[in-house]
């Protein structure tokens, strides 16, 4: 069965930006269907870059390595093609789209992905029904759907809008880039609830975070520590607790001792 194969395999990934600065220095990571992986690490270690490169954000050069998604190397694919193939990135700072109604944006996304999968566009009624059901999961106010995307939304509303998109688009691989940052306890619970209701054994989650607290709501299978563009340590949930209390310095020290 296809699903015995990994969903995503990252092999020896080296990434730099245009001024030649290297950000990722040989990432190896395999994520199987049904798993939740967490990427932690100090500021500037390359966590967000990893999520962005996987989603196809322009501005990065892949100097070496492969990204196999469902068995296919996707490095040359445009971001919209990756999205249609089942990738999703919840943004750390979701963009505002002045004059583009949230409803219209959501429907355009859902339809673009459906068309790619040879399904017809949803009729307005069908889409409204789907939206009604999904917006309740993240407790999104219907009024926001009539407004321009993220314009005038609070920080929490923007993040909930990201999770609403996750539920609507129902990808196979969801990356969440610091979605938990800046959220109060209630908003954090709503976001966690949204991710939990999305996640099952036919999809995977990669969560980039600084904080242990969201992990109390989700059940991560692996924690990876990214330092200077390399995964220097992987472990289970207990690693995140250790990081929370001890920081990253001890890991740096243990690496330098080894080398």
């Amino acid at each position: 069965m296809k699903k015995n194969k990994p969903l995503i395999e990252i092999k020896n990934l080296h990434v730099s930006v245009d001024d030649g600065i290297k950000i990722l220095n040989g990432i190896n990571l395999t994520i199987n269907y049904g798993e939740v992986h967490v990427i932690m690490g100090p500021n500037g270690s390359g966590k967000s870059t990893l999520a962005n490169v996987l989603s196809g954000r322009p501005g990065y050069n892949v100097d070496d390595g492969e990204i196999l998604f469902k068995g296919e190397n996707i490095i040359s694919l445009d971001p919209e093609i990756r999205a249609r193939n089942g990738m999703f990135l919840a943004f750390q700072y979701p963009m505002e789209l002045p004059g583009v109604r949230t409803w219209q944006f959501l429907k355009s996304s859902v339809d673009a992905i459906r068309l790619h999968n040879e399904l017809p566009e949803l009729k307005i009624k069908e889409f409204d029904k789907l939206l009604e059901e999904k917006k309740d999961i993240v407790e999104m106010n219907s009024e926001l759907l009539k407004r321009s995307v993220n314009e005038g939304f609070s920080g929490g509303e923007k993040k909930r809008n990201e999770i609403l998109q996750l539920s609507l688009l129902n990808p196979t691989f969801a990356m969440l880039d610091e979605t938990d940052s800046g959220l109060d306890i209630d908003a954090l619970q709503i976001v966690a609830k949204g991710v939990k209701s999305f996640h099952n054994n036919t999809n995977s989650v990669m969560l980039v975070t600084h904080y242990q607290r969201i992990l109390n709501h989700l059940n991560p299978d692996y924690i990876h520590v990214l330092i200077d563009g390399q995964i220097v340590k992987s472990g289970n949930k207990s690693l995140s607790l250790e990081l929370e209390s001890k920081g990253y310095e001890w890991i740096r020290e243990s690496i330098s001792k080894e080398s």
Binding site: P79, A83, M95, E96
Partner: protein, 443 residues
């Protein structure tokens, strides 16, 4: 002073004078004669140093060109369905400055409004007096050569007088069609609108055309809103790429009056809209919004002034531009708050989307405040579509072309959505949204 005014204007002026001098009242002849001698003195404005009003718009080609004035009605029959065929509307259709009686549609049964050509209105003592009271009292003949030129040729103007306590819901639509195919032609649209106390109306002015060779539209309008009067004014500029369009509009607001202006500039070779609103009564309100979409080598100049003379006035100025290809736009927005105009509340903004590296915009918002206790803000932006924003949309499966279209439409819709007349809104959507070239932006 040698103003190098093309000889044709003088010839046409003499010819027109011979025709109408004996028919027009003396006071009007005086206004016209004074305007023409003023024009001979000052000429057309040039880009010379210190002329801030024309700093970014070069009219030297227009100033040198010769245009003929058609004193007779042209036999050409234009397509009148530029906006709507709705027979409930008052449709006034002008061709090269001449009202086409046979295809215009005056609202006949309504006694609450007077719509009349100057030539007819001057025969009636009451309306003649009304014209005498207001005509050329607000427009700036002395300082503006184009206004002088228009004033010298006043003959085919139109008077719209909305009576006290009258509420006209169906739009009054005035279309000026310019059409020159063999001889470069000039027309001089002239409008006088009086909104009496506590009246309300919707007025659309559209400037359209299909000139195959150079033509010149030189329009002047004067609009007066008496106490508590309201006008929703729409303006559409969609002339041919061969037409120079110079338009000046002077609006006077009395106490508690309300002026909503929505200006849409789509096409012309060179289009200048000089709008000035004087707040001469307490507690008056104006909301001036505009959208311009330029392409090819077009040049669009919006020169907007709001003068707060009396206290408690509110003004909003919100213009947006989309520039493509090698086109150029100019926005000059100035708000004056005079001494004593306390409790003025004013916000102005001009935002531009530059969709080509060769397009250029010069945006100059300015505020001059001479009163205390006022609230004013202004700002201008110009930029391309943000690459991060496009990536956000693409990461949701939306392709580049659809994403840019959604963003550009969203940008334009903010202004188009102000339009309360469905037929007009539909036309504008067609003109502005559907005509946008498909952008394949490179990110």
């Amino acid at each position: 002073m040698n103003t190098n005014l093309p000889e044709q204007y003088t010839q046409d002026y003499k010819y027109l004078n011979n025709q109408i001098e004996k028919i027009q009242p003396k006071w009007l002849n005086e206004i016209r004669n004074k305007a023409f001698s003023n024009l001979s003195k000052i000429g057309f404005p040039t880009q010379r140093k210190g002329n801030e009003k024309w700093k970014y718009t070069n009219i030297s080609k227009l100033a040198k060109s010769s245009f003929s004035f058609e004193s007779e009605e042209s036999p050409y029959i234009p397509n009148k369905n530029f906006i709507t065929n709705d027979s409930d509307w008052t449709n006034l259709i002008f061709l090269n400055g001449k009202l086409l009686n046979n295809i215009s549609n005056f609202q006949k049964a309504d006694n609450n409004i007077t719509i009349s050509k100057f030539t007819d209105a001057l025969k009636n003592p009451k309306t003649s007096q009304l014209i005498k009271t207001h005509l050329s009292k607000y427009s700036q003949v002395e300082s503006d050569g184009f206004t002088s030129l228009n004033t010298a040729f006043i003959n085919d103007g139109i008077l719209i007088n909305i009576h006290q306590d009258t509420h006209i819901t169906k739009p009054i639509h005035i279309s000026f069609i310019s059409h020159s195919n063999e001889t470069p032609t000039v027309s001089y649209p002239r409008i006088l609108i009086i909104a009496n106390k506590n009246s309300s109306s919707n007025i659309i002015e559209s400037y359209i055309g299909d000139s195959k060779i150079d033509s010149f539209t030189n329009s002047v309008s004067e609009i007066v809103l008496d106490d508590s009067a309201k006008i929703s004014h729409y303006r559409l500029l969609n002339e041919s790429d061969n037409t120079y369009h110079i338009e000046s509009s002077r609006v006077t607001l009395k106490r508690n009056s309300n002026f909503e202006s929505n200006s849409f500039s789509r096409s012309s070779k060179l289009g200048r809209y000089d709008l000035k609103v004087n707040i001469e009564g307490e507690n008056a309100y104006c909301n001036l919004s505009g959208l311009y979409l330029t392409s090819g080598n077009q040049h669009i100049d919006n020169f907007i002034n709001i003068d707060h003379i009396k206290p408690k006035g509110t003004s909003r100025l919100n213009y947006k531009g989309i520039l493509t290809e090698k086109s150029r736009a100019v926005f000059g927005g100035t708000v004056w708050v005079r001494e004593g105009a306390i409790h003025t509340d004013s916000i102005q903004s001009d935002k531009n989307l530059l969709l080509s590296e060769e397009a250029e915009v010069d945006s100059k918002p300015a505020l001059f405040i001479y009163a205390d206790d006022v609230q004013c803000a202004h700002g201008a932006t110009a930029g391309n579509i943000d690459a991060e924003t496009i990536f956000y949309m693409r990461s949701r499966g939306i392709d580049l072309e659809t994403a840019s279209k959604l963003l550009i439409n969203g940008f334009a819709n903010e202004i188009i959505n102000n339009v309360d007349i469905p037929e007009l809104k539909q036309q504008l959507e067609k003109l502005f949204l559907e005509s946008l070239p498909k952008y394949k932006l490179d990110f």
